[in-house]
C-alpha cells in the first residue's frame, strides 16, 4: 500500500516538476520568441541544441551534466565560487538537470504558438502606440495562451517521467532526490511488485489524464 516512502517521493516529484515547469516557462519564453522571429543564421544551431534532449539517451545528458556540475566542471566552479557548493546529489541539481532535459518540450510549443500569431497583431499593436515590450505582454502573450498550456503540461509531465537523468545526477536520497520513477525502480529491484504496481499504475493514469486534457481543452490547432 501507499506509505511514508511513497508520499515522500510523490512530494519530491511534484516539487521538482512544478519548479522545473516555472523555470522552463521563464527561460523558454525568450528562447522561443527569438527562435520564432529571428532571421539570424544562428537559428538552426540554437534550435538543434534546444532539441538535443529529444534524441539523446537521458544517461548521456545526465553524464555530461554530472561532469559539468561536479567540482571540476564549469558549472561546479561557478556554484563553488558563489558559495553554493556543488550541485550533484542535491535537489537543486535535479532542478537544473530537469530544466535542460525538458527544455524542448516547453520551447517547441511556445515557438509554434508565437509563429502562429504572425507579424500582423504586433504591427497593429505598434500602430496603436504599444512599444515592443508592451505589445509582447498585451498581445503576443495572451494570443499564445494555448501554446503556454501545452508547454506547461508537457514540461511538467515530462519532468515527472524522467529517470535516467535523475539517477545520474541525483542518486536516490529519500526526501531529497528520490522521485517516483526511481522509487518504482527500487521496489521492483527489491521484488516488491505489489507496491510498485500502485505507483506505476498511478503514473499511467496521470499520463493518460494529462494527454486527454491536452487534446480536449487545447483549441489552438482547430482554430487556425
Amino acid at each position: 500500500m501507499v506509505g511514508q516512502p511513497e508520499l515522500l517521493a510523490l512530494w519530491v516529484t511534484l516539487k521538482l516538476a512544478s519548479l522545473t515547469t516555472v523555470l522552463l516557462l521563464l527561460i523558454g519564453t525568450p528562447i522561443a520568441w527569438w527562435l520564432a522571429r529571428t532571421r539570424s543564421g544562428l537559428k538552426g544551431l540554437v534550435g538543434a541544441v534546444v532539441a538535443l534532449p529529444l534524441v539523446l539517451p537521458p544517461t548521456v545528458l545526465g553524464f555530461y551534466l554530472l561532469l559539468a556540475m561536479g567540482p571540476a566542471g564549469p558549472i561546479g566552479h561557478l556554484t563553488d565560487a558563489l558559495g553554493l557548493g556543488t550541485l550533484p546529489f542535491t535537489f537543486a541539481g535535479l532542478v537544473v538537470a530537469s530544466t535542460f532535459y525538458s527544455l524542448p518540450f516547453v520551447v517547441q510549443p511556445l515557438q509554434n504558438a508565437f509563429q502562429a500569431i504572425g507579424e500582423r497583431p504586433l504591427e497593429a499593436a505598434a500602430t496603436l502606440r504599444a512599444a515592443p515590450l508592451d505589445a509582447f505582454f498585451s498581445v503576443a502573450l495572451p494570443l499564445a495562451r494555448p501554446g503556454y498550456l501545452t508547454a506547461a503540461v508537457l514540461g511538467f509531465a515530462h519532468t515527472v517521467g524522467e529517470f535516467g537523468v535523475v539517477l545520474m545526477i541525483g542518486g536516490d536520497i529519500p526526501g531529497q532526490t528520490r522521485v517516483l520513477s526511481v522509487l518504482i525502480y527500487d521496489q521492483v529491484e527489491a521484488g516488491a511488485y505489489a507496491r510498485a504496481h500502485w505507483l506505476a499504475a498511478g503514473l499511467v493514469v496521470f499520463a493518460f489524464l494529462v494527454l486527454l486534457a491536452l487534446y480536449r481543452f487545447n483549441p489552438a490547432r482547430q482554430e487556425r
Binding site: R120, P121, E123, A124, A125, A126, T127, L128, R129, A130, A131, P132, D134, A135, S138, V139, P142, L143, R145
Partner: protein, 358 residues
C-alpha cells in the same frame, strides 16, 4: 500643411521609388494594380517597413530623416493604420480593442471625443462582442474606430474594403464618406478599385511598378489622357457639384458644377448638398451640332483640348473643356477622322450616363 514622403526601397526583382507631396487635409488615394508598390509605400509611411534614406514630414513634424539618423518607430508616430484584414485582437472584446489605443494616449494628448467616434462608426451594438462574432464589415468598422481613438495626425488605410463583398462595401462606404467630411487630418487610402477612389479621394497618386506615374488633384489627374489607358473601362472623370433642383415629376435632380449642370436620377438628397458625379469616358459621345430629338438628357457645349490614342488601335480619347471642367470621351478613330476633330474645336458632348456617387 502637407505630407512630404520620399522613400526608396529595393528588393531583388522589385523597387519602389516615391517622392510625394500630398495635401495636409483630405483623402489622398494611392492607386495602382497589385504589385505597384502602393502598400509598401504605405508601410514605409507608417514605419512598419524601414526605408533606408527615407524622409517623412507630416504637417511640419519630421518623423523620419535618415540623412540625420532620425527614425521614429511606428509606435511613436501619431498615426492610425487600418489593415486590409481588420487585424483586431481576437482575445479582446470590441470594447477592449477600442480601448487598446485610447488607453495608450495620455489624456492631455487626446484630440478626439470618444463618444463621437463610437457614434460615427456605429459601435454601440458591437461593444460586448468578440471579433470572431462580427461580420467582415463590422470588423473593419471597429478597426477604423480603434485607429481614430488614438487621435492620429495621419490616418492610413491599406485597401480596407478589398476583403469585403459588394454588400459589405456599400455598408462601409457611407462611414468612410462621413470621415472624409469630418476629418481634419490627412487620410492616405490605398486602393485598386476605381469606384472607391472616385467616391473618396481628393488627391490621386497613380503608381505602377514602384514608380509614381501621376500625383495631383482628383479631377485633373483623372482627365489626363496618358492615364485612362491604364484605367481601361473605368476611365472617366469625377466632378464636384451641388444639388440645385429636384424635379419630383420625373424623379430627376439637377447637379450644378463649375462648367454647367447635369440631370441625374434623384437619390433623395436635399437641395444644396455637395455631391460628386462620375462620368465614364465610354458614356461621352461627341456631336458637331446640338441634336434635337434625342433621348440623351445631358448635352453640354465643349471644346476639344487634346486627342490621344487609346489602348485598342480602333479607339481614341479626347479631353474636353466644359466651362472650365474637364471631361474625357472615348470614341473610335474613324469618328475622329470623320468629324475631323482637332484641338480647339467647339462641339457638343452628349453624356449618356452620369453616376451620382454621394
Amino acid at each position: 500643411m502637407s505630407l512630404v514622403a520620399r522613400f526608396q526601397v529595393a528588393y531583388p526583382g522589385y523597387a519602389l521609388e516615391a517622392d510625394l507631396n500630398l495635401p495636409g487635409r483630405g483623402v489622398s488615394a494611392l492607386f495602382g494594380p497589385s504589385g505597384s508598390g502602393k502598400s509598401t509605400l504605405l508601410r514605409c509611411v507608417a514605419g512598419l517597413t524601414r526605408a533606408p534614406g527615407g524622409y517623412l514630414e507630416v504637417n511640419g513634424q519630421i518623423w523620419q530623416d535618415e540623412a540625420r539618423g532620425l527614425f521614429l518607430p511606428p509606435h511613436r508616430r501619431a498615426l492610425g493604420y487600418v489593415f486590409q484584414e481588420a487585424s483586431l485582437f481576437s482575445h479582446l472584446s470590441v470594447k477592449r480593442n477600442l480601448d487598446y489605443g485610447w488607453k495608450r494616449i495620455a489624456p492631455a494628448q487626446r484630440r478626439v471625443e470618444r463618444e463621437h467616434i463610437l457614434e460615427l462608426l456605429g459601435m454601440a451594438p458591437l461593444l460586448e462582442r468578440k471579433p470572431d462574432h462580427l461580420s467582415g464589415g463590422e470588423r473593419q468598422r471597429v478597426a477604423i474606430a480603434r485607429a481614430l481613438l488614438t487621435s492620429p495626425k495621419l490616418l492610413l488605410m491599406d485597401e480596407p474594403l478589398s476583403a469585403l463583398d459588394h454588400a459589405r462595401k456599400q455598408e462601409i462606404l457611407p462611414y468612410l464618406e462621413r470621415l472624409h467630411d469630418e476629418l481634419e487630418i490627412p487620410l492616405v487610402y490605398v486602393s485598386h478599385a476605381p469606384d472607391e477612389v472616385a467616391r473618396l479621394a481628393d488627391h490621386l497618386v497613380v503608381l505602377e511598378e514602384g514608380r509614381v506615374l501621376a500625383s495631383g488633384p482628383l479631377t485633373e489627374t483623372l482627365a489626363r489622357l496618358d492615364l485612362p489607358i491604364r484605367l481601361g473601362e473605368d476611365a472617366g472623370v469625377v466632378l464636384a457639384g451641388r444639388i440645385a433642383e429636384r424635379d419630383a415629376a420625373w424623379h430627376l435632380a439637377r447637379v450644378d458644377f463649375g462648367g454647367g449642370s447635369l440631370w441625374v436620377r434623384d437619390a433623395g438628397l436635399p437641395l444644396g448638398r455637395e455631391v460628386r458625379v462620375r462620368i465614364l469616358a465610354r458614356d461621352v459621345s461627341l456631336a458637331l451640332q446640338a441634336h434635337q430629338g434625342t433621348s440623351i438628357l445631358n448635352m453640354l457645349p465643349a471644346r476639344v483640348e487634346e486627342l490621344a490614342e487609346d489602348a485598342h488601335p480602333a479607339l481614341a480619347l479626347a479631353r474636353l473643356d466644359v466651362g472650365g471642367a474637364p471631361l474625357v470621351a472615348r470614341l473610335t478613330r474613324r469618328s475622329v477622322a470623320t468629324l475631323a476633330l482637332a484641338p480647339g474645336q467647339r462641339l457638343w458632348a452628349q453624356i449618356k450616363a452620369v453616376a451620382l456617387i454621394g
